[in-house]
Symmetry: D2
Subunit: 400 residues, 4 copies
């Protein structure tokens, strides 16, 4: 909550100092590293002091200068960075990894091995076994392994989860989640969002859109409903310009409470940009939310007027949503605020781990390695289903 309420501010670092953070990936020419970086700065928990921002020396150097990273802490390889930073007294305390999917595993491995907490972009890895290995390693070493699904960190997505938990819509009977974009309608070379590696099965894994936006949709469904997708059936399509892997998928779900679910994702729906939306229905009401209008959440109690929850409203807002509220209602928060919430939660967790504050640690809310692992299993299950004529495939939702 912001200072306008008399409560501890999530944007205040608990150790009285900012944590030292490094980045692997995120240099000029990329998208997602910059989104992380915005959230990092806004969160108030971090100083970015080191980076292996690019394998290209010029890009690495310019990118480090952009972010005011000292020259001697701008590295050309993650291996060098892990080694050098681990050796410094003032070395990084955590690393954010924003590189192509297929590189996540070795990089995360290298930093975990040196006792550095890891913040990993999604999907966690391409192979299920790699994800399982990272989860096990972090657990065994007692380190934080966080996976950056930021959309669930909009305050109103949390409010939806809380309303469902309180029974506002009764027993869930069906769930529709869509994540709809349009940047892959035309050939990739015309899009600012495209990256070559996303269409290369050797680098991105067995799916493209499913691994990218499909895992976001799944995580949102899980975060809001607390249900798991126990079985899935996926139809994978290329609806935009020709490409080697899917840009569109219709994924039917059997949820853990028996209700049907649907995830529709596409990168080829002109007029849609970051259209992550959920609609959850129960026997007492419905809830709907759209990431492009993140401040409003619509609750439709059966046969009553719809109620529009507005972030910061006060009345009826859950403490968990208030925790992620920084500005008064109407004074808009958006995607970088969600990233900031995520990085503040992770920062608080790492501070708590270092201070041995177990209770604070377990109260921090961010997607864990297990959440990341479930996403990797989901995307591989979708590939399995697609390979088998859209058959039903079971998904393992347990930990390791």
């Amino acid at each position: 909550m912001g200072p306008f309420r008399d409560v501890p501010n999530l944007r205040t670092p608990p150790l009285g100092r900012r944590l030292r953070l490094g980045f692997v990936g995120g240099g000029r020419g990329g998208n997602v590293g910059y989104w992380h970086y915005n959230g990092v700065r806004l969160s108030g928990h971090w100083d970015v002091v080191a980076g292996a921002l690019s394998r290209d020396p010029d890009t690495a150097s310019q990118s480090a200068a952009d972010w005011c990273i000292a020259e001697d802490r701008s590295y050309l390889s993650f291996e060098d960075m892990a080694e050098a930073e681990a050796a410094r007294d003032d070395g990084i305390e955590a690393v954010s990894i924003c590189t192509p999917n297929f590189t996540h595993f070795p990089i995360a491995n290298a930093f975990l091995d040196r006792g550095i907490d890891v913040i990993l972009d999604k999907p966690m890895t391409t192979a299920v076994e790699d994800a399982e290995m990272l989860v096990a390693k972090a657990r065994d070493l007692g380190l934080i392994l966080a996976v950056t699904y930021p959309y669930g960190h909009h305050a109103m997505a949390m409010q939806a989860a809380q309303l469902i938990e309180e029974g506002a819509i009764g027993t869930i009977s069906q769930v529709i989640v869509e994540y709809v974009q349009d940047w892959a309608t035309a050939p990739d070379e015309q899009s600012e969002m495209a990256s070559n590696w996303r269409r290369d099965p050797a680098k991105v894994g067995r799916t493209s859109a499913v691994g990218d936006i499909g895992t976001h949709a799944l995580q949102m469904l899980r975060a809001v409903t607390k249900l798991e997708a126990e079985e899935i059936r996926a139809d994978l399509h290329v609806c935009g310009a020709p490409k080697a892997l899917d840009d569109t998928a219709f994924i039917k779900l059997k949820l853990s409470n028996g209700a049907p679910g649907l995830i529709w994702i596409t990168e080829a729906a002109p007029g849609n940009h970051c259209g992550l939306r959920f609609r959850v229905f129960g026997d007492k009401g419905g809830l709907s939310w759209d990431q492009e209008f993140p401040e409003q959440l619509k609750l439709s109690p059966l046969n009553e007027p719809d109620r529009i929850y507005l972030r910061g409203q006060g009345a009826g807002m859950s403490p968990a949503a208030e925790r992620w509220t920084h500005l008064p209602r109407g004074h808009g928060e958006a995607l970088t605020d969600a990233w900031s919430n995520l990085y503040a939660e992770i920062g608080t967790a790492i501070a708590a781990r270092r201070a041995g504050e177990h209770e604070r640690l377990t109260s921090c809310h961010y997607p864990s390695g297990v959440d990341g692992l479930i996403g990797v299993r989901f995307m591989n299950a979708c590939a399995d289903s697609g390979d088998n004529g859209s058959s039903w495939v079971k998904v393992d939702n347990s930990g390791v």
Copy 2:
């Protein structure tokens, strides 16, 4: 178009007099007959002069009085009505049939046999063969057989069809149609929309929601995209209160141009009422429309600002949409206006048939018996798919 433009007004009956219309069904206690009746009156093409509005004598009599039908033309059975009206010099020229699905076939048959044009609520029949027989009979007798899917007669749904035909969104690559309601969330006895026969397989056919709102969704898809659903795969569910037949379906489509389509329908999504919505995407743009906000149509040319077409706008509006425009922009038209458009088109067609004006006849735009037949095949194909573990089922989209 309304009189504010210097063009013939669709609400002016071409024969210089109103046609004589009878109703079977539509008495007090029903919903849909009243919707027909509103459109009939507003259209300006019809005088309602006879009816078999209910099998219950009191209801029949009260209902006839409501509509100012003379006592001697209020009948207790459609058989009596068909016989008596056919014998009168001033007998009805057409009949509107608004009874439960399983009765459509014998009633329509009776009136066609007596040379009376038939206007039939959807779905046309429960069995495919019955629908085929009606189509063949009307064709052989040279009579009009119209099926009342009204939603496509919103001016902006027509504008969508015209924009697609003109290439505004390029080649269609995926289509999403949903028709989402909430009246079957709770048990039927709590809903003003429920009818007992809708849950009785002997009366409604092999599906409930699919035959009811699913056929509307299919017809909208066909009207707007001019594509057919060549193969379908249906998951049927009961998501609301327990009932004998489906209230929800997820239907995957293989469209006639190879693109994937999805129809999601449900009667158990709290907060949704008459949520018939389409989103059509192509390589050059997207189009979306929502029946609950029928005056606006959103065109999203790829990478350009969205354009909001408003009924009556003038610039860029197709003649076909203008034909269904009666009030200036901002002066709202809604569902009864759509029904009125439908009844004006059918009235014009019947007038043209009687006057032997072939050109005018073929220029009239309304869902034909073949459209109705395709809907009946679709709902039966969905039942087949559901019966076979959601297998893919081919649909015949030809005439008879």
Copy 3:
């Protein structure tokens, strides 16, 4: 209410027959007569059997044919029509007057004098004395004199009035009403909405936009809040193409409870069409509504989530709003439905007057001659204010 609820249907004429109605004005080339006519037909209360639709013989004849009026009851002057119809056994029982403002007085006078109930388009007259004379005459003769402000007959406008009466927003502290259009931005010859007489002070009165849309805004304010504008201060402007009279006005109000109010009207705001909107604020909440989206009404209880009332919703809907509800929620009603509500209320009132049913008569809800008179006083007060450097001017809100 529609037949889907077990209540008397407002669209059922109480005498068991339709009343006989004539029109003065409304022929081809006009706008507003056609809007009346649509509401008349949809209401189910009327047969239009006579008309003096135009002074031009060809237009009169074609227009009568459009509406299926018999040739011998199509007149070329209102004087002939009044005389001939009064002399017939089956003569008209009421007349709708849809001619330019300056002709309202003599026409209404002529029909009242012959014992025919009068339905008059707004503004009632140009001069205050004329309006007062009509009100007094109708009262003295015991005739119905109704003035057609249709926008207040949207069900959700009535719901707003009821919520305010029930105290949902507490004591009203400020009111904003706007009626914003764009058809007079360009010269009149480019607009389908323009009429020459509207810019001619000899025909339209001392104001143009104020008398046209300003009186609608005032009537909406009065209907919803039950407050009167006791003093006004008007700034009149020409913001669109040059013209002799105002197309824009900012009118500050001192309301009868002491609260400030603002009416902003313009015909020169591109992108606005029939933008009649109110926002009413009190110490406990706010209410807002927009005629272009008439099915939704937003109630904002202070510090609580907004509630969106949807016509037909059921829960929380007032009987008065239900009375004007004909289709289930989501099955849209719009402007012609509002006109239909107005014409059904007037038809019911006339039927009750003829049947001597006093209780039914007083339960009918439509703008009376006094409402019309107050509008005429308002528009003249605005002209006075404008003539005196936007001084404050008192408005008489009493009857005669």
Copy 4:
């Protein structure tokens, strides 16, 4: 622009290092300082290294710890801070002043006198002469004096200004700006937004709401239209709970091109929170925008479909709007992004001044001292008008 386009990123500090910034005000319990601070961090241009965050020692100390300010640079008075920081080699290069209005003048004065650039919250001062003196002093000393009106730094507000400059709506004919909130509906002690000093004429100046949100509305009007309010007429009201000064005002404007304008502001309109909205109309089109939905801008070309500009859209977006675009379209930016744009522009300007880069300096875009001064004159003119029975009052829009 964000790094996803190949252009310099506004969030990269041009000197290769962050500037040293101090805060006066902004400690725990306040609102606006925290909003500044969020923008400061996100901008990437600043390290906050010193502060006089509160006159209360405990609050000052805790607040400094929140922001990781070293203990020895947390001051209890601005005088001490100015003196001590000016004496340090690593002293602050700029100060942000977020204290109550009546203290702005002496504080700003103290820092300017010591050669420190000043960033001042609005309204700049309470008295016109004080504002004039600050403007003159900054000019004479060659220092930056920026006034923090952040709302114009939403990318789509800038896009509106650019579209108007390019002639998209033709010649402006009327302008409506509203800034509507609800926090002062109930007594101040119930509101998280209230501050005692805002209702104390000795501290806030001669108006309350006009000085607070009215100056925002004026600045938005000026930024978007490039017009000045040459004459104003203000009606000041208390519409919420009783208070010593205005919470509501209706302000009529004579704009510098002769067009009428209206500013309506209130803090007592339940359901409105940060409702800063403009609607600008010309002879070729209209533009509208709402701060609560800052990513969309609606352009209504006369008689054509509305066009919805979306931040990040690409096509048709001006370079000035792109400069304030950091995330791809649909990936929302909101109020803190606007603050960040403002602080990045000011940071760039200060860096340019220090580096003697005149061209870069003049290309920076932020509200200057003169903009602040015009706001102070406006709020005092409104008070004059109110004191004189809402008479028309001329406003001086020149510099000093």
